[in-house]
């Protein structure tokens, strides 16, 4: 079936079977998803939600927007996260950076309050060799604080 979507601002059209994943649609150069769906290296934004590209059927992206790790730096709404990561020195290796940023976006988009156990639920999925849970949880708290200050300081536009 023909699926068309914007991937990082570029329109892509592909013919794929129903069971094809967003990961196949995006064609990020990986041949295979991981066996158990837990490596998290395939995380993307589908619309405004973080999803496993390997576990979402490509048809869900039809006529929609997919944002991959490659385009995250250019999205101003995530700069709090990137700043917090830099402050803590987190995700400095290429392997770690994108999936940790997506996990942080997921966390902040849920509107959860850091420190209530939510951060721990997320940080236990860290699975790379150059990051640790404590730094990640700290970065989440810093990013949430930055976001809170920014949204309180600026009056909402109508």
């Amino acid at each position: 079936m023909t699926i068309q979507a914007q991937v990082d601002g570029v329109t892509i059209t592909r013919d794929l079977p129903p069971e094809a994943s967003v990961m196949e649609f995006v064609g990020d150069g990986r041949d295979q998803p991981c066996a158990d769906g837990r490596c998290l290296r395939c995380l993307v934004l589908l619309g405004d939600r973080v999803v496993h590209a390997c576990r979402v059927p490509a048809y869900r992206a039809h006529n929609g927007n997919v944002t991959t790790a490659a385009a995250l730096d250019s999205r101003p709404e995530y700069r709090d996260i990137l700043r917090a990561f830099r402050r803590v020195g987190l995700g400095t290796c290429a392997e770690a950076h994108p999936y940790l940023v997506f996990l942080a976006i997921h966390h902040l988009s849920e509107g959860s309050s850091p420190g209530t156990g939510e951060t721990g639920l997320l940080s236990r999925h860290i699975n790379d060799r150059c990051s640790n849970r404590t730094d990640f949880e700290r970065a989440l708290r810093i990013a949430a604080g930055m976001r809170r200050r920014r949204t309180h300081e600026r009056p909402a536009r109508r």
Binding site: M1, Q4, D15, P18, E19, L43, R49, H52, P57, H62
Partner: protein, 282 residues
């Protein structure tokens, strides 16, 4: 959750059918008996044995509603787990929220649905175990009519009860208050090939006396152990449980046939001692 990216007008011959109402879904099932139903697709898309055309029910409005009634919560089958968790802070039984917290890496919960979780074939996932203990019921519709299935009445996974062409539409969860609860998994319950164990239990205590208790365990996401006789015997006992009563639990639970034949030794030990320490905790 925004569905702006979903569009039912897929421009292809072999398009997946994406209904927006239950009526559309039922009509499609009537006309296409070999339809395979998907929701979030997190499990289904990895199964190559798909037959017929796929109908994805993730965008059916009625299936995405959560309604709070006086004595129960009615959850549409296509409600994503992430949304349920958010609601949970105020409305869900705490034990259900605890089970939902544990489901997969959190972003998975943005697309995985409650109906899909219950209908994974041959599998009783931890959240499904908790729903059983909560005496949740599932509404299933086919073109010929509607029926309610009591999860607690099923020994096997719900999927073996659901017939081809039958659509899960709602899950009804009683909103009774429990004073103590636990839902804990050892190992990974998904995919179902491992050695995982989930122990879940809940307790209502009134003036240091147990007024109701429910407890169960699932090994390898498949073998279910629950003894209602023991649950009944515990009613009226003092809480925290005295050592004499704990010995009775150990003996009766330990003698359960499924526990003896299907559980590993470690899983047996963890089940019995997990439940006893739950009953003995303040």
């Amino acid at each position: 959750m925004s569905d702006r990216h979903d569009d039912k007008s897929l421009p292809a011959k072999e398009a997946v059918y994406i209904p927006e109402t239950i009526n559309e879904a039922m009509q499609h099932l009537r006309q296409n008996r070999d339809t395979t139903i998907w929701a979030g697709g997190t499990h289904a898309m990895t199964r190559p044995s798909r037959e017929g055309r796929v109908m994805s029910v993730h965008a059916v409005h009625e299936l995405r509603r959560v309604i709070r009634r006086e004595d129960h919560l009615e959850i549409g089958a296509s409600v994503p787990l992430a949304r349920l968790r958010l609601l949970g802070e105020r409305f869900l039984p705490e034990v259900l929220r605890q089970a939902l917290d544990e489901v997969g890496p959190p972003p998975l919960q943005n697309t995985a649905t409650i109906g899909g979780l219950l209908a994974v074939p041959e599998t009783i996932l931890p959240t499904a175990l908790v729903l059983r203990l909560l005496a949740a019921r599932v509404e299933a519709r086919r073109t010929e009519g509607t029926r309610w299935i009591a999860l607690a009445g099923e020994q096997r996974a719900l999927a073996s009860e659901i017939r081809r062409g039958e659509l899960i539409t709602r899950v009804r969860v009683p909103s009774r208050r429990w004073t103590h609860w636990i839902s804990h998994s050892f190992g990974r319950p998904y995919p179902r090939d491992g050695d995982s164990l989930t122990v879940a239990a809940m307790l209502a205590v009134d003036k240091e006396t147990i007024s109701e208790v429910r407890m169960a365990a699932v090994y390898a996401s498949r073998y279910l152990v629950r003894t209602r006789e023991l649950e009944a015997e515990l009613v009226g006992k003092r809480h925290p449980l005295q050592s004499r009563d704990a010995a009775m639990v150990e003996q009766q639970l330990g003698a359960h046939a499924t526990l003896q034949t299907e559980f590993s030794e470690l899983a047996r030990h963890r089940t019995v001692h997990g439940i006893i320490s739950f009953l003995q905790q303040r």
